[in-house]
């Protein structure tokens, strides 16, 4: 007769789960779950599409504009992102003459993949239908027409997980900018003269910077609505100047009044995207 009872096995499973959750680094456990994480797609994808339709149908504000605002808005947004991006690329290429072949719309380097669900555990991440068979690999950058989405965290044969830039602990360097109308009527994207600023994801669709001094913030004249664009050497050079989000608020830190908290949010709720573009070439 075995001395091993069910509760022994169960407590071993609990101990294993606790070790995996608290002690074992995710890089050892992620490859396994990446292979099977897409199995819920047959239920989650239609559910998501129905929820998206219902939200647009019942909870969106009515518009008096007879044109299709979604199409015009998306195009406008995409052109602005491209303009800011290309301006920054040109700036970089003045310094680095190589990588000339990478100039242009980064969408040509991307593969579109459908979003099948968002994180059921309260984190900022997306499940996508992109698989390793399509060339999706961990670490690839993910975009949408309105800016950056995040990074592929794990990829497998059935789907992949994208960690959003707003997820807790996600770090990147960015620089502020805004569109200004010149005297000749042309619109130009101008980067505000500050050093690259570290932003950290806070969850709930927000990025926060806490290391900008109040004096620098005020002298740069940063306002709500200004763009935060990427300026991070760890990212591909052709994403330099790509839009991350807009400034949505700022407040002096309670503990250290010389510093200011700047809050940035992406233009759209990234958790509600229907499709994203994974940058498979760079």
């Amino acid at each position: 007769m075995s001395f091993l009872k069910f509760h022994h096995v169960f407590f071993m499973l609990l101990a294993l789960a606790a070790m995996s959750a608290f002690m074992i680094p995710p890089r050892f456990t992620d490859p396994g779950r990446a292979q099977v994480q897409g199995i819920f797609e047959p239920v989650s994808k239609p559910t998501r599409l129905v929820a998206l339709w219902a939200k647009q149908r019942f909870f969106s504000e009515p518009s008096s504009d007879p044109r299709t605002p979604a199409v015009v808005g998306d195009e406008n947004q995409r052109l602005r992102v491209t303009l800011a991006n290309v301006s920054a690329q040109l700036e970089q290429l003045k310094l680095v003459n190589r990588d000339r072949e990478l100039l242009g719309d980064v969408r040509d380097l991307c593969t579109p993949v459908a979003v099948t669900g968002s994180d059921p555990g309260g984190r900022d991440s997306l499940s996508t239908a992109g698989t390793t068979l399509q060339g999706i690999k961990p670490g690839m950058k993910v975009l949408y027409p309105g800016g950056l989405v995040g990074v592929v965290d794990r990829a497998g044969a059935t789907g992949s997980q994208v960690r959003l830039v707003t997820d807790r602990g996600f770090k990147l360097l960015g620089r502020f900018g805004r569109f200004v109308t010149r005297n000749d009527g042309n619109v130009e994207f101008v980067r505000i003269a500050t050093d690259p600023i570290l932003f950290t994801g806070q969850g709930g669709g927000i990025l926060l910077s806490s290391n900008l001094t109040t004096r620098d913030f005020q002298s740069a004249g940063i306002q709500n609505g200004d763009w935060l664009t990427l300026d991070d050497r760890d990212w591909p050079i052709n994403l330099s100047g790509y839009k991350i989000g807009r400034v949505v608020g700022s407040a002096t830190q309670v503990g250290s009044p010389l510093f200011i908290d700047v809050r940035v949010a992406p233009s759209r709720n990234l958790s509600e995207l229907r499709e994203v573009m994974v940058m498979v070439k760079n």
Binding site: A18, F40, G122
Partner: protein
């Protein structure tokens, strides 16, 4: 317990949770449908099946979340143990039971996720968000567990008793 029914229910619940999570939320907190399925299993199934069922549900949820593997398996395993201990003393059909078990389960999940956030501060989840999530889960619990209780015959939780042979 009929495991095929269990896996179908778990699959549908996880698919719904993954599909709806970003649309059904308040201040970033979402109700947890998978947790309620765990409570339903622990409330009705025999001891071993209930514990294994809850643990497996958590492990399945771990597959699609950004949290580390094992976090929800641990949380739901503990919830299974807790709900199992109340099996004999609660009125399983009552909405108040569903509400209180949903709240307790949500708080226990929040405690495990919160503890993980304390150890790994870069993945810290605000306590208020965890509490709101627990509260939302408790609010929808009677609407989820009530209908599930009506369908519990599909899961064959109680094994058939042998009829005494007539002599």
């Amino acid at each position: 317990m009929r495991w095929l029914s269990y896996f179908i229910l778990a699959y549908v619940a996880l698919g719904l949770q993954t599909g709806l999570a970003s649309f059904v939320q308040y201040q970033g907190a979402t109700p947890n449908l998978v947790l309620l399925v765990g409570v339903f299993i622990a409330l009705n199934a025999p001891r071993d099946a209930a514990l294994l069922g809850c643990f497996s549900l958590g492990a399945m949820q771990d597959l699609v979340t950004q949290h580390p593997l094992g976090l929800f398996a641990l949380a739901y395993g503990l919830i299974g143990m807790f709900v199992l201990s109340t099996q004999e003393i609660v009125y399983r059909e009552h909405p108040l039971t569903h509400f209180s078990l949903g709240l307790a389960g949500g708080l226990m999940t929040g405690a495990v996720v919160g503890l993980h956030g304390l150890i790994h501060p870069d993945q810290h989840v605000p306590p208020l968000m965890l509490f709101t999530s627990a509260l939302l889960t408790a609010v929808i619990a009677p609407f989820v567990l009530g209908p599930l209780q009506k369908l519990k015959w599909m899961f064959k939780f109680q094994p058939k008793r042998q009829r005494p042979r007539a002599f």
